[in-house]
């Protein structure tokens, strides 16, 4: 039951330990971590094209949207614990951007809720990526496939 928007890096192991500690009813945790990539493979770019990424966000609305998305996941699946961490600021390739972790008695809810949270986050959380390349900076375009991925959850589960 936690949402954090922060500049600092995070430790996945420590976060997962803290998330499940003291709740032996948890049977599994599904965790997704998003990383800064140094190229757009679908655009035919070479490794090393992207030198850094700066994540801008809308303070206030970001926290509200993430909390609403998390509440929606908890309403749809029987989650014992849930964590969303999203970073902002400047990051270099290989650095962690986002962590979503869902814990449940059984794996199905944990897998589904984790995927739902990532899909919703990508299409609704107010973050924007500015990439630094050898030729200057560029704002990342939103991907139609991300909106499609979020839309498949429009019908409640079950």
């Amino acid at each position: 039951m936690a949402v954090r928007v922060q500049q600092a890096d995070f430790d996945i192991g420590a976060e997962l330990t803290a998330l499940t500690q003291g709740n032996p009813g948890i049977g599994g945790v599904c965790c997704f971590t998003g990383l800064v990539r140094d190229l757009h493979p679908q655009a035919g770019e070479q490794a090393g094209t992207v030198r850094a990424l700066t994540l801008e966000h809308y303070p206030g609305m970001t926290e509200r949207q993430l909390a609403a998305i998390e509440a929606e996941a908890r309403a749809r699946w029987p989650l014992e614990a849930c964590l969303i961490i999203h970073r902002y600021g400047r990051m270099e390739p290989g650095e962690k951007i986002v962590l979503v972790a869902c814990a449940s008695a059984h794996r199905e809810a944990a897998f589904d809720a984790c995927r739902f949270l990532m899909d919703w986050l990508k299409s609704k959380a107010p973050f924007w990526k500015l990439e630094e390349t050898g030729r200057g900076t560029r704002w990342v375009d939103s991907r139609h496939s991300d909106e499609e991925a979020a839309r498949r959850w429009d019908q409640p589960a079950g």
Binding site: Y58, M61, H86, L121, K122, P126, K129
Partner: protein, 84 residues
């Protein structure tokens, strides 16, 4: 007064992150507000030239262009999001 916020390339094109605006008479919704901003020309006209890539939040909730705007509102204009 309303508070206007701009993010990502809308912010860089307009050249401002935020500003206060006395709501001009006759403007009642987001569409009217955007049309007013477009008349300022320059960076505003450029940033708001393709509304298919402009999203709006009023008081930190996503809204359609038909949503009302009243004094005291916080109105944010930004491109489609690219987080995660």
């Amino acid at each position: 007064m309303i508070k206007l916020l701009y993010f990502a390339w809308l912010r860089s094109k307009i050249g401002l992150a935020e500003e206060e605006l006395a709501l001009p008479p006759g403007i009642r919704d987001v569409a009217g507000l955007i049309a007013h901003l477009q008349t300022r020309g320059g960076g505003y006209a450029d940033a708001l030239s393709n509304l298919a890539v402009v999203k709006v939040a009023v008081n930190q909730e996503y809204v359609p262009f038909s949503h009302p705007v009243v004094p005291g509102d916080e109105v944010a204009l930004f491109p489609p999001v690219t987080g995660g």
